[in-house]
Symmetry: C2
Subunit: 215 residues, 2 copies
Amino acid sequence: MPFAANTVIRHEGDAANHLYMLHDGWVIASAGLSDGSRQVLKVHFPGDVLGAPSLPFSCSAETLRTLTSPVVATVSKAGLAEIFVSLPRLAMLFFLAAQEERVFLMDRLISVGRLRASKRLAAFLLHIYDRLCAMGVSDGAPIDLPMSQEMIADVLGLTTVHTNRVFAQLEMRGLIARRGRIIEFPDIMAVRRFSGIPTRHIVRNQNWLPAMLSR
Amino acid sequence: MPFAANTVIRHEGDAANHLYMLHDGWVIASAGLSDGSRQVLKVHFPGDVLGAPSLPFSCSAETLRTLTSPVVATVSKAGLAEIFVSLPRLAMLFFLAAQEERVFLMDRLISVGRLRASKRLAAFLLHIYDRLCAMGVSDGAPIDLPMSQEMIADVLGLTTVHTNRVFAQLEMRGLIARRGRIIEFPDIMAVRRFSGIPTRHIVRNQNWLPAMLSR
DNA sequence: CGAGGTATTGACACACATCAATAGTTGTGG
DNA sequence: CCACAACTATTGATGTGTGTCAATACCTCG
């Protein structure tokens, strides 16, 4: 199912009756507060499962909004249950994906709770870069972030103004180079050291997982 | 398996070869930064699964440290895989528990990213209170937090000094009353309104889950 | 060409950090 | 049971990172 750019797929508070599989494009998950401020919770890429956190709750915890024009497939709760009954290995992979997301949220929490703005921004850009690399999209290549500085500010828990100043700081330090929204890392290891968040190594195809075709 | 109070069960960076089921007592999950600062990621209660976030990674992402003297059971990765093969309903419940944890982390991220210190503390105390109520421990009763203000500061992303001042603020506003580490809420709804984090309603025993005895 | 969003910059305010000191509390060993 | 040490809580004075308000430039698209 294709969507237009900058469209709400599901709003926080809505009934959470299914999941979405993101096949193409970018989607952000965010939550708003009564005072109008907003926190971006996750920048989703192709391959991600969307909307799963709201499953145990009576209504959706996050707003899903398209950035680019994405392609999304819908999975019902019953369909998910069917996977858990028939395809235990796939179910286990869904479970592990949820744990990965938890660790990414923990890293964000550490970053917002304990790092100053410049390191926070570096950690975020690095996280996006690493995930793009894992998808094979960009290895050493510049990344093209389809996000305004306002959105990035909502990721980092900063104001737009300060985010802009911190971008300028990173650029002056030579940690990044910018051409519009395209960002390049002249020395990625320097950025890694600067950010302070440890590099995570995901282990794929672990041998303790249930066999592929179990019955 | 019993543990002493204030003991490390598993340190971040250690091999993550199993999970733990917390049967009794309190355990906190935290991560440290190179500069010595620390972020508490989760306060675990009886019934929680510990150590799951590290499963997809080559080494543990979080340090698990006992607060009280807890009772913990160990589950191997193979044992978890066995559950996914044989007990799909239980596997699904594990999956949903992980999604719940994601939402709690999101709430913490919103809180640390977008709320000022006093609301942050209120939201944290409220979260603990609600979870104790869900366990049937404390409904309207005062809560006894076995945590120093330093630990609470590491939850909130604040300094010890400021956490202390914010405790005093909440007390002066009449939102909490303290006797040592015992905290009471004279008007819990006022605290809820003040905190700004929406109340989450978890739906148990959802009808789309796989049947109890599937085969 | 004009309009609305986005990026950038400056001046100033404030929430929280930092440094430092004191008091209170807990635990431990003699 | 007291004495001492270590930890924890509290309070004050001062510094600073980030927020707020405001203005201008830029950019994209009709």
